[in-house]
């Protein structure tokens, strides 16, 4: 792996910025492999294993959905607490909360990006662009 690493791209992030259309060239592929060791912040605490843009988008979407669905549920249940609509609204909140928790669990405890396997097969897709902080 290290032998095909070109010297000018010692900074792992520099060549990502240069290919702004998301095209992954071979150097990037190597750097993706290098980044598989979970990066740590300066004080040694491990960062989340988020690697791909798709996962970041998903996390963001789930967070927004939770907020939105809680508001909806409060609204619907305000009208009639015993209605079916109220039950379903809170059930949706539960479903999304669990989905978000599962994603967090994968990233924080198992240090896996759920798109890992998919992106190995489909590195050119938008979802598989490398996530930059």
């Amino acid at each position: 792996m290290a032998s095909s690493f070109t010297p000018m791209s010692l900074n792992p992030y520099s060549s990502f910025r240069s290919a702004s259309n998301g095209e992954i060239n071979s150097t990037k592929k190597i750097m993706i492999k290098m980044n598989m060791i979970t990066p740590s912040s300066k004080d040694g605490t491990p960062l989340k294993a988020m690697k791909f843009k798709g996962t970041q988008m998903r996390e963001k979407k789930l967070t927004e959905m939770i907020e939105q669905k809680v508001v909806e549920a409060n609204q619907v249940c305000g009208e009639d607490e015993t209605s079916d609509e109220c039950k379903v609204a809170w059930d949706e909140v539960e479903e999304i909360s669990q989905a978000k928790a599962d994603l967090r669990l994968k990233l924080e405890k198992l240090h896996q990006d759920p798109l890992e396997s998919f992106c190995q097969e489909n590195p050119e897709t938008d979802e598989c662009r490398i996530y930059e902080d």
Binding site: N74, E85, K87, V93, A99, D102, L115, F118
Partner: protein
């Protein structure tokens, strides 16, 4: 029915040996035939393995999402191999596959997607949101060694995605809200477990899970649990009478007025008279035991441990 996996195909010859049948802790036998072939120049091994046992089907009833719970991961690692999502498939698949085990999520058998359920006013807990006919057909097929194209329910989008191929494994676990609801599916289960989390513990766990979320507050978490409770009590809870093993997670009795939930009380209720299932016991099979290791010594760490074991009746069964 025998399922054979051929690793290399060469002309068959010479010695064939039958390895000793192995007994797992659940007590079922799997016979394996291993063929060896000797060439003149050097010894090569051609391995053809035939499992003369059907796929074992285990049902797990749990309300904590699918296949991602710590319990399920530990269970699959006990059977052998680390469980992972299917490689290269739908990234939102709920399925886990290891060397020996495949775990599927019964949410994949939703007949109504999120929009559909909203329209009909039906929660995911309601049997009307699930296709038990398809569940039965596919579990039956897997059990008899036939691969199936199983739908995928995407928990992020709330839609039903194109199906994924599920090949019959040695151990097939169906996890979800209704593994024992339908009588036909129940008949297919070789073993069933119900994870019974008490209301207090459920509340404590959900607080831990959701409090960091921007959208949530103590009230919203509470409201969500309460709104789902009627359907849960009506459709999910009754399944525990059918389970071979019930794992109850309850608040501790060792710490008065505990509301942290860091120390828990766990009860394992095991049905007697189930084929191949020998309930585990403390010290002695026939006795009733109550044991506090280091009950009076001051050096023991608070709050200590208490074990007990004994026979009881549970929903009319001896356990």
């Amino acid at each position: 029915m025998a399922v054979c996996t051929v690793y290399t195909v060469q002309s068959l010859n010479s010695t064939c040996s039958i390895s000793k049948p192995t007994k797992t802790h659940l007590g079922f036998n799997q016979k394996q035939l291993v063929f060896f072939k000797k060439t003149t120049t050097r010894r090569t091994t051609t391995e053809i393995t035939c499992s003369a046992g059907d796929t074992v089907v285990i049902g797990l009833a749990a309300d904590s999402g699918c296949g991602k719970s710590t319990f399920m991961r530990r269970l699959t690692s006990v059977f052998g191999g680390a469980a992972e999502p299917p490689k290269g498939g739908n990234p939102d698949s709920n399925t886990l596959i290891s060397d020996t085990t495949t775990v599927i999520c019964l949410d994949d058998y939703h007949s109504l997607d999120r929009t559909g359920r909203k329209e009909k006013g039906v929660t995911a807990l309601d049997p009307r949101a699930n296709n038990f006919d398809l569940m039965y057909e596919q579990v039956k097929a897997i059990k008899s060694g036939v691969a199936v194209e199983k739908p995928i329910y995407n928990h992020v989008t709330g839609l039903i995605d194109p199906p994924e191929l599920i090949k019959p494994p040695k151990i097939f676990v169906i996890e979800g809200l209704h593994p024992m609801y339908d009588a036909r599916v129940r008949e297919l289960l070789d073993f069933s477990i119900y994870l019974d989390i008490s209301n207090e513990v459920k509340f404590a766990w959900k607080i831990q899970r959701d409090m960091a979320e921007r959208g949530h507050s103590l009230e919203s978490i509470k409201a969500s649990i309460e709104a789902r409770k009627p359907d849960f009590d009506a459709y999910i809870d009754p399944q525990k009478q059918y389970a071979d093993a019930v794992i109850e997670v309850l608040p501790t009795q060792l710490i008065p007025d505990d509301n942290e939930g860091k120390v828990l009380r766990v009860r394992l209720i095991m049905k007697e008279g189930v084929k191949y299932f020998n309930p585990v016991y403390l010290f002695d099979e026939g006795s009733t035991i109550s044991w506090i290791p280091c009950g009076r010594k001051l050096t023991c760490s608070y709050p200590g441990i208490k074990f007990s074991y004994g026979p009881e009746t549970y929903f009319g069964h001896e356990v």
